[in-house]
Subunit: 466 residues, 2 copies
């Protein structure tokens, strides 16, 4: 199986950048990281050259060496804690719609077509390639209600070597599930969700690369019985859960109408055993104080999706307040409510959203570059249950990494407009911290020249010389 | 002189997209545009093939033909109504600063180094290449206080064939002009501004490509005498004027302190004859009703710079209100307060900013894709005095255009992650309007494969086969 094929013991040499805490970025300009045949980091050295590495680690003299050239650095792979793979072809199509009208206009018609594997296959193939090309090494995917297409998405992730949580979407209610795209019965919904969980366990029993995730679309699309049954299903399989919460004011009103006995949107999930330490709640924009506290008490996690929240005019999630109270937060691209498969773009959007909140609430709520990068890596790792395994460069963690190459400005300035190095202009005088900032604010997939998951090279561009 | 070299009479064949009004985008899928040796559009035909063009315009049978291939369309060149060329190397560097601290930390030190032409040359060369590569055919540039470097920027624009307004920055006051970077005296300031105006007139007497622009940095950097003298200078040369207004609350307070007799920030400029029909006011975020009316009465124009306003947490300009009262508005990248030289990115940012305003003020204030594109082309043309000349495709207008190539998704979906077509995924079923939306929300410079100004090809990538 490709995903578990052994990889050559490798020493990665050059500049390493990663987050060591929410506010601190560590930059090691002359670093060396030894990654073994299982993709596990065996040593991390700072301020060394190869001779010193070999002296200190004599059993690594025969190891492969991958050394950075030019203005490059290694950065942990990005973690996308919320996205919808079947909505990929609708990227950029939302017009002036908001959540509920957007679902009916764009999303449900597209998702319903995934009854055909022929339709699903190129879209899932392309989307996994897209997210990998942006440095996303772990991704929490919503699929559709269809078991075969959901299983295909898991197959593709496993084959490409991208860590993934793959969820068959469950939606059985008449309120926000259209006639042409709805689980036929509660029984069939549960059977289908279970079938997809079983399939994903069968292809990756340890869940090293792909894992199933129980996926009630959101409360308005599921009956209370269905939500409860999914809570039980997740419990019996010790599985992750993902759903949406408190994205849009109209949606919140709808939940009140549909679940009149529940005190809040959060209570609906809490009462159906869907709020666990393995639950990923996307959006979480308009939560009241009690809801926030319930989520914290249950240990559920939040996926912040600012690009989507802006594009659909959903609102600005109060991330600083959540961080201050100790909630666990990662970033999600939420394609195609979000308009980009890139977590780097999502970092920028998280920063912009925090600035919009700052305009009325003071500078303290602004997210820094470092904080956004933390949410994109360490924060995301906590959200998807991979804390201590990915998201940073430490002994015992696995080598999920991207090689970022910034290139440099041509001698005398580019005269013809052919910017072979990509979108970032590095002049030579910039500190490493400046370079990281330039990457965050003007970089894109052209700067992501190679990507590894568990030590396996899963993406590279022509610029990568491994 | 390169800029006025004649170009071959050419028929451009394929899909044309342009704005015909603030809310209407016209898409002609089988169009033909005839551009003569002077770069002027002589005919615009819809629903035709080449044979029909030759039949109707028999004197164009020998003309060169540039035909679109694949998922491509012609779009008017973008107009950047406000940017700072010397700040290009600081792109992405702002941290958590706001306007006044950002000026002192990043901007003034960099700009002051442009006393050296050796420093200025590669930066200006590179930046003009960057803006052209993003499809910017006209740009209103701030330079620095230095005459030789300012003139060099004008030389580069003329040589590359990019329409430009180039302004020597004037700043003589002790308040917001540091000791190391300030016009020495009022007299030297005026003499230097005049010297640069005269130089720019000498290299392009008709102002077909480059024109000078009187550029008081902003009220806090100039004495009242200086502002008045610059108002007179602009009047005597019938010149354009550019400056900043009402960007940041601290700045507005500072203007109140420095100009206690003036009723408002706008009044400071009005009282010094700087508010004219040829004045470009950047930002204009926090104007009160009377200021808005004064600006309208004087016919002054507004450059909306949302990327910068978000990055520096300046605020969200009320663009819908300005449009409703009939103010003239274009978009500005405001590098390096803004983090991108791309007007396409600025379109997105204008849309996001309008959504943040919508969150508190209702959906009516949202800008549509069409409206953002209008501001980027026709709106910008009005701001820089080129209405009726550029910004759309009409007989008598000049051929300032970009060829946008979207490419298409590989058969079966991209399997290796090598996205040769660039960032936009076109599947084949999309309407032209969908394709334009995909370009606006996920496109970048990779999609801009050729750029013309007055019929002259001023930028191309390897993908262009002209």
């Amino acid at each position: 199986m490709a995903a578990s094929a052994s990889i050559p013991k490798t020493v990665y040499l050059g500049t390493f950048v990663h987050c060591v805490s929410l506010s601190d970025l560590e930059i090691s300009e002359k670093g060396a990281i030894g990654v073994d045949e299982n993709g596990v980091i065996q040593f991390v050295e700072k301020n060394v050259d190869l001779a010193q590495v070999h002296e200190k680690h004599s059993d690594w003299k025969e190891a492969k060496v991958t050394e950075l050239k030019g203005n490059s650095f290694f950065f942990p792979g990005f973690i996308d804690t919320h996205t919808h793979a079947p909505q990929h072809p609708n990227t950029g199509l939302f017009g002036k719609t908001t959540l509920l009208s957007w679902l009916e206009t764009y999303t449900f018609p597209t998702e319903s077509s995934f009854s055909s594997l022929e339709k699903a296959s190129p879209i899932y193939t392309n989307f996994v390639s897209r997210t990998l090309s942006h440095g996303t090494t772990t991704c929490a995917y919503y699929a559709t209600i269809h078991v075969p297409a959901t299983n295909l998405l898991a197959d593709i992730c496993l084959s490409r070597g991208q860590r993934a949580l793959v969820g068959r979407v469950c939606m059985n209610s008449h309120s926000m599930s259209p006639d042409y795209y709805r689980d036929a019965t509660l029984e069939s919904a549960l059977a289908d969700s279970k079938a997809s969980i079983d399939y994903i366990h069968s292809i990756d029993p340890q869940g090293d690369i792909v894992r199933p995730i129980v996926t009630p679309r959101f409360a308005p699309s599921c009956t209370a019985e269905c939500l409860s049954a999914l809570g039980d299903l997740a419990k019996s399989h010790d599985a992750f859960i993902q759903t949406h919460i408190s994205e849009n004011l109209g949606e919140i009103e709808l939940v009140k109408e549909l679940f009149p006995k529940s005190e809040s949107y959060t209570a609906v999930y809490d009462e159906t055993n869907l709020l666990t330490e393995k639950t990923i709640l996307a959006h979480a924009i308009h939560l009241d104080q009690k809801e926030r506290e319930t989520i914290k008490a249950r240990g559920a996690k939040i996926s912040h999706c600012p690009a989507s929240n802006t594009a659909l005019t959903s609102g600005c999630a109060p991330i600083r307040e959540y961080l201050d109270m100790g909630l666990t937060i990662g970033l999600g691209t939420d394609v195609s409510g979000g308009f980009s498969p890139s977590i780097l773009e999502e970092c920028r959007q998280a920063i912009w959203t925090s600035r919009f909140r700052a305009m009325g609430n003071g500078d303290d709520v602004k997210l820094s570059t470092q904080e956004a990068l933390y949410l994109a890596t360490r924060g995301g790792a906590k959200v998807v249950g991979l804390e201590g395994k990915v998201g940073g460069f430490e002994v015992g963690m696995e080598w999920d990494a991207q090689m970022i190459c910034l290139g440099e400005v041509a001698e005398g300035g580019e005269k013809e407009g052919v910017f072979e190095s990509g979108p970032v202009d590095v002049w030579g005088w910039e500190s490493m911290e400046d370079r990281v900032n330039k990457w965050v604010y003007s970089g894109d997939d052209r700067n992501c020249v190679a990507v590894w998951v568990r030590g396996r090279l899963v993406h590279k561009t022509a610029k990568f010389q491994g």
